[in-house]
């Protein structure tokens, strides 16, 4: 690994800021028989970039191509001026020469080696003293120094995660790829690991491409987000731009809008900054923020289940513009929240706390009112 030699001097000096540029196209036949094409172009700056998308969208293929485990049909991949792949000039560096660290979902820790051996695996080019120094430093950062002589099957899931990160980062890679690394962990462990990763990233500014399904992680980590769907980039920008104000229905679903309705505009009130939309197939109207759109067009409006208030008696004197009359169709407890389906013509999914269900004595069949603020309705194209 030639690039390790470059870092010999400073132990914690940050590597020069470098951008990862990717432009690639790859087609293949899926197991199900259907044809899939990944066609993307992106530039990842140092820092956390979240790659967000449904399963099958092509995220893993993209990461594999960047790491060199798969070869695109055409395109170019480079880190700053170092070309990793270029179909035109026929450059295709093997994974071991790319200086790309890739953390797989399965972690792939070597089961027959200790934590220390695992972490030092990538440092073969250094002498023992330097190896110990480097691994010591990264183990400290991730707080696993005490686990040196243990085997992967002797430590907890969270600790394994840290070891995998340490092993990947000790080699001072120029790009870090993470494929849903924290899915199997509990919230507390997740949060701690993310903190450590963030701290490490502040010290070593390299592009990090982080794949996740979890919105929490996007906001916790993301400096920038990219949404991938069916092999194409659907949206990119800040996490807020991409998720809080999703521009498309698919992104909205991904972003966790439990309620999405097809509507047509029935009236607009520019002086109030709102417009009225009728939910298709019903007589229900919603007042939503004004958007410049052709009145004849059909829109989609999305509302988060957590943004809807439930009242057991008709509320008076509220600021909210939407107060809907309905009946509870079903109540279901999931973890620490209650999911209520309320029929007001169309069905709404509402999330409540256990306490709320208790105090309101909610039961299926009960008559309730839904309260939705105008700004909780998001107009999607």
């Amino acid at each position: 690994m030639e690039w390790v030699g470059v870092e010999m001097s400073g132990a914690t000096t940050a590597a020069p800021a470098e951008q990862l540029t990717v432009r690639l196209k790859k087609s293949f036949r899926r197991d199900s028989g259907s044809q899939f094409t990944l066609d993307v172009e992106l530039a990842v700056a140092p820092g956390f970039t979240i790659l967000f998308g449904a399963s099958g969208a092509g995220k893993t293929t993209l990461l594999d191509c960047i790491a060199g485990l798969q070869t695109p049909d055409e395109g170019a991949i480079a880190i700053a001026e170092v070309v990793l792949f270029d179909s035109e000039s026929r450059v295709n560096l093997p994974p071991r020469r790319r200086a790309v660290a890739y953390l797989l979902q399965s972690l792939a820790l070597f089961p027959h080696m200790t934590v220390e051996q695992n972490v030092q695996y990538g440092l073969a080019a250094l002498n023992q003293r330097d190896r110990d120094a480097r691994s010591g430093e990264v183990l400290e950062s991730f707080r696993i120094s005490s686990l040196l002589q243990r085997r992967p099957n002797e430590i907890s899931a969270g600790e394994r995660q840290r070891v995998a990160l340490a092993r990947a980062l000790v080699t001072r890679p120029r790009v870090l790829l993470l494929d849903e690394p924290l899915t199997a962990l509990d919230a507390v462990t997740k949060a701690r690991i993310l903190d450590d990763l963030r701290a490490w990233n502040r010290r070593h500014r390299i592009p990090i491409l982080y794949v996740t399904h979890d919105r929490e992680e996007v906001f916790a980590l993301g400096e920038s987000a990219i949404v991938l769907e069916e092999g194409h980039i659907l949206a990119r920008g800040s996490p807020h731009e991409v998720l809080q104000r999703p521009q498309s229905e698919t992104v909205a679903q991904l972003a966790g809008f439990e309620n999405i309705f097809e509507c047509s505009v029935t009236g607009s009130h520019p002086e109030y900054g709102t417009m009225t939309c009728r939910i298709a197939g019903s007589t229900l109207d919603l007042e939503v923020p004004l958007v410049r759109v052709n009145a004849a067009l059909r829109l989609c409006v999305g509302v988060r289940a957590g943004d809807i208030l439930l009242a057991s008696s008709k509320p008076q004197g509220l600021s909210a513009r939407n107060v809907l009359d309905g009946t509870i169709a079903s109540l279901e407890q999931r973890d620490m929240k209650v999911i209520a389906i309320v029929t007001c013509g169309p069905d709404f999914e509402v999330h409540l706390t256990l306490a709320a269900r208790e105090s309101l004595q909610l039961k299926p069949g009960a008559r309730v009112w839904l309260v939705i603020k105008t700004y909780s309705c998001h107009v999607l194209q």
Binding site: M1, V4, A67, G68, L69, P94, P95, R96, R97, R98, V100, A101, Y102, L104, S106, A108, F110, P111, H112, Y121, G122, A124, A125, R151, P152, N153, R167, A168, T171
Partner: protein
Amino acid sequence: MIVQALTLTLRLAIMVSAILLVIGVPLAYWLAFSRRRWKFLVEAVVSLPIVLPPTVLGFYVLVAVGPLSPVGRWYQALTGHTLAFTFEGLVVGSVLYSLPFAVQPIATSFAAVDQKLLDASALLGASGWRTFWRIVLPLGLPGVLTGLVLSFAHTLGEFGVVLMIGGNIPGATQTVSILIYDQVQALDYATANRTALILLLLCFTLLAILYGLRRRGVWNGWEWR
């Protein structure tokens, strides 16, 4: 007689297993990881000795590469004698005959190593050799041991090939299996019984030790969890 035949048989088995270890591991590695389109042909050739009777092998050593053929003449010029009737001839015949028993378990074991571990190794900068030495071999060790044991056991019981080309020379090509056969042919059932029993006990002890080691976990390598 028995002692001589036994030591000869053990020497043959050890030599054959050692040779098969040396050629078997690289061959198995190639079979496990190569992506050449004609790999299936090599696999077929390697598996041939499982289906072919030892008579075919004997025929080739005796006639097709015997002293009257160009290959045989070259060999004779090189070494001064023929392959048949010699210990070396038995080694060659047994190596060919036990080849698949060594190669197949090793190849299967190598191929079973999680591809993700190999990817991880490559991503951490390891060369193909380093990945083999530090990941594939340690994790594939159970298969290597199995291959070693199988070739040893298979050679211990070798009969057909030895019968075809051995010439039954005590101390050089008279293995225990041939000795027993001879004793039966000579109607000396008592001695044959004794000899057979000794071989049986030897094989049983060997296998018992090996399976005992397996219980201890030495066999199973490292659990991937």
